[in-house]
Amino acid sequence: MSADGNAQNADKGTSHEIVRELFARFGESPFVAQSTVDRMPTLWVEQSRIGEVLRYLKNTIARPYKMLYDLTAVDERLRKNRFGLPPSDFTIVYQLLSIERNSDIRLKVALTGDYPSIPSIVGIYQNANWYEREVWDLFGITFNGHPNLQRIMLPRTWQGHPLRKEYPARATEFDPFALTVAKQDMEQEALRFNPEEWGMKRGTAEEDFMFLNLGPNHPSAHGAFRLVLQLDGEEIVDCVPDIGYHHRGAEKMGERQSWHTYIPYTDRIDYLGGVMNNLPYILAVEKLAGIQVPDRVKTIRVMLCEFFRITSHLLYYGTYCQDVGAMSPVFFMFVDRQKAYDVIEAITGFRMHPAWFRIGGVAHDLPQGWDRLVRDFVEYLPKRLDEYQKAALENSILKMRSRGVAKYNTADALEWGVTGAGLRATGSDYDLRKARPYSGYENFDFEVPTATGGDVYDRCVVRVEEMRQSIRIIKQCLENMPAGPYKADHPLTCPPPKERTLQDIETLITHFLGVSWGPVMPAGESSQMIEATKGINSYYLTSDGSTMSYRTHIRTPSFAHLQQIPSVIKGSMIPDLIAYIASIDFVMADVDR
């Protein structure tokens, strides 16, 4: 099993450095320590002290936790295995990240009552804004003092809060959907933008502002994404991103699929990332199960993930060029994507969403002849990338169009929870594959590309260089693919190893239950962060000792990246916004889940 950055040897996690520091500052009484299988320091904090503790962690402590990495909630009302945790109906979970410490801390606050409330932390961490709106939308928990606590995922006309346990999951449990003329009018009216609601003025003494709707369907918005721009001429005074047009309820889905049958849903979160999405989920489940996978599995997984990093970055590269005005590169890059898909398809049997990783292994062994295909590809692509370097990146028009546009620095990036190439373009070299190697990345020789400008152009440069590094990693996989099984020999591996079945009635029953109901994961909490195509992606799983997850939370990078848009783009022109959107690299499924 890969070493977790927080690996410590304590049971309750109280030997973590940060926990000792907190105890020294606040005493032990406001806290209850919880042990989790991911060994992340996890503390329950008294509701009245949480603001104080967060402020201390962000501003006062040495080597601070500058990033609010995640904020979510858990409906605990039906949870059975709570192991002496503080009583709670709903738990708010804050997860902070410190780059300087290369470490996280998870803070939890217990809330009681059916529709509880808690003070907002938008005053401490700005990016808590959307996270709190999401928790309000999906759980019905009120955040007092939030600047605009509105629904974010679901339409404003929605009734109920879907992630509460009493809310039905399936669309087929409700009346069939029908779009009546009256409903159409009502929904369209609800979509009308009201500037006052967002604290915007309709004009000044001299001029009126124009409000422009960009989206929910716009050719350069990269999906069902809506931005409302407040314009003074062509200059953007302010803007409001509106998301939720792609909310597929992936987290609720986790509560009704078995651990195994949830894998295909992960593929469709960042739908350009393919099996890369399986990885954090599978690794988190394997931590729960206590499975150690063979080296061959780790290497196969790394190789496939890097293939998808390349296909995703190629699409980014092409659409980026197109959005800043270069029409041809995208056509060449899609041809290269086809070549990559040919290899992926030969190995996994599918193109975009192979759902090919399994709990404790991968679906098949590598097919005979895989090495020839992979070799052809790694020899083919670098030459093409060199051509694009000349045709696109060194093109003076493209440079002039994108240099110095939509700049932000590392501090801003951390404040908004920005990870991935968007962070590394500001000079930080934080890449989880290096900082906290997982799935055997510690065995590979590669560099973390960075840039210092923090602008649109640099974000593209970093990704292009990342593709070259991915090719380097794939080459190493090709030359050093370990022999051995493609599945772990463990009772919770799913599907179970075939040679362990059909021996006698016992093995037959175990196998039957394993493939029909699915494996039962031990109760506990687990998470895994990975460096995905678009930034840091992680799954936070709570098992209640059943065949299904009690709560699946997915932290996606694109959600954070879109929330940052207004702070970066204020004062720029509309074409700069288009270039900026192109440089973020997001897909809406990765935002809304």
Partner: protein
Amino acid sequence: MEYTLTRIDTDGPRYPQEQREPARDPMEDQMHRSIFLGKLEDMLKGTVNWGRKNSIWPYNFGLSCCYVEMATAFTPTHDLARFGSEVIRASPRQADVIVIAGTCFQKMAPVVQRLYEQMLEPKWVISMGSCANSGGMYDIYSVVQGVDKFLPVDVYIPGCPPRPEAFLQGLMLLQDAIGKERRPLSWVVGDQGVYKANMPSQRDKHREERMAVTKLRTPDSV
């Protein structure tokens, strides 16, 4: 061939605002009345349909994963230009077909409906991928279980997501269907309903051939 007559019903309480009834090919009746005029109309309609089906301009509209595969079909390896459909239009007013490529959400449905209304007749709808066809694997509170709950779909493309080749096939099936359509030649000439041929199900058509396959390639070699 059996036809379905579709008439707009602006008073309909829900979308699609239309009424459908089974019909026979209207050209047959015309032939029985006057050979000359029937032939003339047949030729005119044939010419118009030929033009329409070979220049179906798609609307630049995508919802999720399927759109990536749809976009792949526009690029050189698949080259949609062979079918006259490479001209993506950014405005619904210039587009002939809207491909619902991806999951249709309850929050998005009113927007999709508005965009569809902004398209001009004649217009067609392709539902691409399992989500648009039926909700697919997303039987979940936020997802409309099939875009045909409010749009009149002409062709369904199965797959999650369908390959670009499947999209090309879907487009060709739509071309076949358009070739058999009987639409009024003008808004002042003739009957204003739209007669669409009931195209055979591809599943039924290929069933025997598919069932006859007994040997499948193993996944053990490339």
